[in-house]
């Protein structure tokens, strides 16, 4: 392929559509929101741009820090669980034969063919008190009790007298469960892409030269697929931070995330300038995360060269 330095004209023209798309549908609307964040409500529907910083100072209230901290905690736990589950799955896919590999990749992408809301509602049906999980547990409980009775050792001590359904829904557990379920493909795919290009003979070499399985994993594989892991972490962490549908539908009384607060500013609170300021606060945090990421990857590249 020709370098962009050789065919400058061709490359200039070919980036115009994408550039125009991003300008019109991303930066322009974002600019409106940014300008709105320096405005004030003058009546029920009108906003006057006064250049005020009040919306930002208001966003530094303790309660919003608390909400942000909670959102971070939920998102970090989600990202960590995604990572732990994704690593073996990505390994499995990249070590499979070609046909199985395609099949497995389709399985990963398949959930995207269904709307997010429908997937979230079906989680409600699975997790609620009379949901599928509790139904299966109750069935097992009855069977185990019958066996114990049959063996004559049942005295009501080994298992509770009646089946107590687990509280799986409307708490932070169900929010994390829902987020992991929704965002895990974004972790699996970048890790898989890096693993797929990864020369498997490194693993053989490491094992042949006497490193154990675990040492090979942490000293050879993980450092080499590190870029994939970092991309996956960002792709999961950032949308998690702004999520609001999942905590709304699956969360309990303590599951408010910053996305819910922002959504309310645009709806029931009818305070678009403040909502805009909160949105931008979240965007600045995201930009900060990406900056940290780029600093780290730069450091890694430098280390490798040295």
């Amino acid at each position: 392929m020709d370098s962009w330095k050789v065919k400058k004209k061709f490359f200039t023209f070919s980036i115009i559509p994408g550039f125009a798309w991003i300008m019109v549908f991303f930066f322009l609307p974002l600019a409106f929101v940014w300008i709105m964040s320096f405005g004030e409500k003058s009546n029920i529907i009108d906003v006057v741009i006064t250049g005020t910083l009040d919306n930002y100072t208001r966003a530094f209230d303790r309660v919003y820090f608390k909400v942000l901290a909670h959102s971070f905690l939920i998102s970090l736990i989600t990202t960590f669980i995604c990572l732990i589950i994704s690593l073996p799955i990505a390994f499995l896919i990249s070590f499979s034969s070609r046909r199985i590999k395609t099949f497995l990749l389709i399985l990963i992408i398949l959930p995207f063919w269904t709307n997010l809301l429908i997937r979230t509602y079906s989680l409600i049906a699975i997790l609620r008190t009379e949901g599928h999980v509790n139904k299966i547990l109750e069935f097992l409980w009855i069977k185990i009790n019958n066996v114990l009775l049959f063996l004559g050792i049942y005295d009501g001590q080994l298992t509770p007298n009646e089946f107590i359904p687990l509280n799986l829904l409307y708490n932070n557990f169900s929010v994390i469960f829902g987020l992991v379920y929704i965002y895990i493909p974004f972790m699996i795919i970048p890790i898989y892409v890096v693993l797929d290009k990864f020369d498997k003979s490194y693993i053989e070499a490491s094992l042949d030269l006497g490193a154990g399985q675990i040492k090979t994993l942490f000293k050879i594989i993980i450092p080499l697929i590190y870029p994939g892991i970092i991309s996956g972490v960002l792709l999961v962490l950032i949308p998690c931070l702004g999520s609001f549908v999942t905590p709304d539908l699956l969360g309990g009384s303590n599951s408010q995330m910053i996305g819910n607060v922002i959504e309310r500013q645009f709806k029931s609170a009818n305070d678009w300038p403040f909502g805009a300021a909160l949105s931008f606060l979240l965007i600045y945090i995201t930009i900060g995360l990406i900056l940290i990421h780029s600093l780290f990857s730069k450091k890694i590249v430098e280390e490798k060269i040295l």
Partner: protein, 360 residues
Amino acid sequence: MYKNNRGISRRNLILGSSAFAAGLTLSPYSSNAYSSKEENKLNFYNWDTYIGEDTLSNFKSETGVVTKIDFFADNDELFAKLREGNPGYDVIVPSNNFVEKMIEANMLSPLNHNKIKNISNIETRFLNASFDKNRKYSLPYMWGTMGIGYAKDKVKEIPDSWSFIYESDKYSGRIAMLSEAADVIGMGLKYLGHSINSKNPSHYKEVEELIISQKKHIKVFAEDNGQDLLASRDVYLAQEWNGDVGQVMLEDNNIDYLIPKEGSLIWEDCLCIPNGAPHPNNAHKFIDYIYDANVGAEIADYIQYATPNKAARKLLGDDYNKNTSIFPEESVLDKCESQLYLGEDILKIIEDSWTRIRAA
């Protein structure tokens, strides 16, 4: 197969998008905005499952007007959609406090009562309203109450007080509150003996503290599914709207609904024409049609909410008219209030304390 499909669908996409573009450029001319006669169309923006099954198709066969219906889930969504200008709706169904808010924001067109001759079917007490003097902008569509839905097989006593929801650990972890700040906090005010339309910030502080200390006993602030949570016994007590609980009561004899002794709020959803409606004549025709006795009866029978249409009520039996969860007794109604539009400053107090409650 996959490849073939892709080729066809891309061509369809181009065809489709050019048709869409043509539609966009032609629509201002075909809407007859400047001629006296309107095209036979009507855009209706309504709550989901909130009209009779055949009402719209009957309206079409009677008048030739084709109605396109869109749904909103709450008043905030309706308001947010119309805030930056009417996207083309002719008839909308906001609740009383939002009617007041939209009048204040100059978003509604005055109704021409002469064009709505079936207005005579509406009960007289609905022909004036605190939120809309002489019904200049709105006419009542349906009304109802907020109360407690409860599972009779799980609750030992009749939960006839808001204290069961707002200040009790008796059914800890089995209580659902609504998720709208104004409704939850408003009812907290009522429980503490204040008006739900209080403008005193210290009252709001009291309610905030009350709900924060009750929070550990509340399972969920339910979006719009308190009745489903009751039906599945995820909760035993739910703060809910009468019609929503009524729907599950039809299927489950062990669920009941009551208005607590402290009183509650009465809501009223209204038919309004937003400013900039493209088909105002059809909108009036439609509103008139809704107040026809037979049409009103069909709607009320299907959606099981209380209708202000007295001619329609005469056509319906006792299981509708004598149902106390639809039509509470007068003595109970006397203790209820309607929510007023309290102004943006009070709304900010409510929303901020809601954020603190949810974060606590």
